[in-house]
Symmetry: C2
């Protein structure tokens, strides 16, 4: 123990000041190799990516923060690219392409995850990204738990956010059911969606009501996110696609609501429940809310919609107009449709919005800047969640 302490302090005292002088931005040592600090965000929000790769012939960085850009090598073999202009506040993912092979940044332990692919990540601070950061605000809890599913006959995994104070106060909380997209799993909202940070910040700012957020895995062929299920490490990533869209998930969805109402202190009525999702999750939210018109008073379709074309795939999807009529007979307090401004599905979302309007069903339609990605998904959450459960 003692030896470890001394060695650690020694490394810290000895190397940090030395390496800090190598360039204008901080450096540190790792595993006896010098790894440059990357990414480095300066006071003007210019971002510097760095990679120590003396033998590489080309290094590129790919990110929404900068596009696809070549890094330049210095005499020590450190490749660098600095954005010429400040980068907009946002939570960014990126990767390096080193001699044609894609890697995450070895200097950056912070990654995000989307269905078997890891990306390096960083946040450029500012008003637009404030809700994605870990700020000095009261924090809620994030629980990974398993629920018994009659749909598949075994347990399945979900992630649940409970707001700050849930453990100590005895009050009951409303619940938002929040679903991932086609290529995702129950870790999408917690990781790429930064839902814990979004909820903590929105609640602390007084913009959102304290609520529970339930994030199930909405692919019945998975018990859980890859790496947490029984299939281990060796399954091809796309094995689970066929069973989506057959209506089974929607048919059994009330088992999730029942379980949550059983184990959490929830508001067990329509006015205390919201359902939303991104892309395929929006598809599920739309079908679930009309299939169970008494369950959800708030509906959010993030970058997704439904059409008559799915009607013959399952009884769950059949009779779109009739089911919508039953849903809007006791209309939800909010039916919100969001879509990215450059999402290729924008026409479909507009059409669904117009279709609802034509039937006289009150709904809100909002375009946010962005494509069909996690960036847009987070922006939609930031708009939708403050609208929920207001007195």
């Amino acid at each position: 123990m003692k030896k470890l302490f001394i060695t650690g302090v020694f490394i810290w005292l000895f190397f940090f000041p030395v390496t800090a002088q190598v360039t204008s931005a901080p450096f540190y040592l790792w595993e006896s190799d010098s790894i440059p600090f990357s990414p480095y965000i300066d006071a003007n929000h210019r971002v510097t990516f760095r990679l120590h790769a003396p033998q590489a012939k080309s290094v590129w960085v790919k990110s929404l923060a900068c596009g696809l850009k070549p890094l330049e090598k210095d005499e020590e073999g450190i490749w660098t690219y600095t954005t010429p202009e400040p980068v907009n506040p946002e939570c960014y993912s990126y990767a390096f392409i080193v001699d044609g092979t894609r890697f995450i940044d070895p200097a950056n332990a912070y990654t995000t995850y989307s269905y078997r692919v890891r990306y390096s990540m960083f946040i450029v601070p500012g008003p637009e990204s404030e809700c994605y950061q870990n700020n000095d605000v009261p924090h809620g809890s994030m629980t990974r738990l398993w629920y018994p599913s009659q749909a598949v006959g075994h347990e399945r995994r979900m992630v649940v956010y409970t707001p700050h104070g849930y453990e100590r106060h005895k009050k009951h909380y409303p619940v938002l059911y929040l679903m991932h997209g086609f290529s995702g799993d129950e870790e999408d909202w917690p990781e790429d969606g930064r839902i814990a940070q979004i909820m903590d910040n929105l609640i602390a700012q007084g913009k959102a009501e304290p609520m529970i957020v339930v994030m199930p895995n909405n692919k019945l062929d998975q018990d859980a996110a890859p790496g947490y299920d029984r299939y281990g490490w060796m399954m091809p990533p796309m094995r689970n696609f066929p069973r989506n869209g057959d209506g089974t998930y929607e048919k059994y969805f009330p088992e999730i609501v029942d379980y949550i109402d059983h184990i959490y202190r929830t508001v067990t009525k329509k006015s205390g429940r919201a359902i939303a999702g991104f892309s395929m999750g929006a598809f599920h939210a739309a079908h679930l809310s009309k299939l169970y018109p008494k369950l959800f008073d708030y509906v959010g379709l993030f970058s997704g919609f439904i059409t008559k074309e799915d009607e013959n795939k399952s009884l769950v999807y059949s009779d779109l107009q009739g089911k919508l009529a039953r849903q809007f007979a006791i209309p939800p307090k909010l039916y919100w449709i969001g879509i990215g401004s450059i999402d290729s599905g924008i026409n479909g979302a507009q059409k669904f919005h117009t279709y609802l309007d034509s039937l006289g069903y009150s709904n809100e339609y909002q375009e946010v800047s962005g494509d069909h990605s996690g960036y847009t998904m987070r922006k939609e959450a930031l708009i939708f969640i403050p609208k929920l459960f207001k007195k």
Copy 2:
């Protein structure tokens, strides 16, 4: 939505059978590039690492599974190394060294994390690694939560495992407080330590009692693991070292026990509490158990120990013999010292064991194969945890 479904199924149907024929081991496509399946574990437990890097001049893999080994390039630019012999069942971490730069495997989304460094990981199945896998057994829950700390005047993060059924049954559970090492944080046991899998499997096998496991961050200069604290992404990794070992963490530790007893259904007596830790966590467990002789009936030092040399650093560490005398006046039911067979601290652990013996204080000493690493830490947990809370 519909377009996404069709595209996905199309990719799946079209590419998977094709790519599966490229080599004897399965391949898959990703992001329009062909990424070879890696690592691939065959039926005989030989492990194949693969990297598509046509322009690289050398690729090495580093892992306890194989040592440091060069990969060989084929005509398609895919580098491969296959272990000549079956690899022992274990949960392994590894990295590639490509032309001298360390990267994790871009084909493998499964990583483990140890204080700002990510490693790729895989499990070779077998009896010795069975408890590290996600098996088809009842699962407990893992909660990331924050507790109000008087020690620092703000909230700090911990991870809590609750056993299967906790949410639905009304019984009270014993608690193991389990602490990370010097270079770790509260994510060490959940990630590298695979504690959720270990607990689920040991309980399902009837080897361990159902219990709550509390994993605090035991570095007071951190609120939380890097990436979850207020300091964001840009801090050098070793900023937090100076405040370890000054006794403050131990002095305020009862605030953690009080909080857990307040928000969970715990057995609130000595016979229902265990404390253990790895390396620096063992140091804390030893000091905490003697500082609060009425709190813990089970003590586990994993690859760590204490000595008289720390006595003058803090009142918490002073009077080692006197405090041990008070602790063993009402002796704990178990005082267990584990150490890796090739840990450089083995002499210190043996000495502390002999010291306790010389004073007539009952303790168990056990060497397990391994060095001062997460591999040994997990083995120690597998031995220690089944000894707890037996009637």
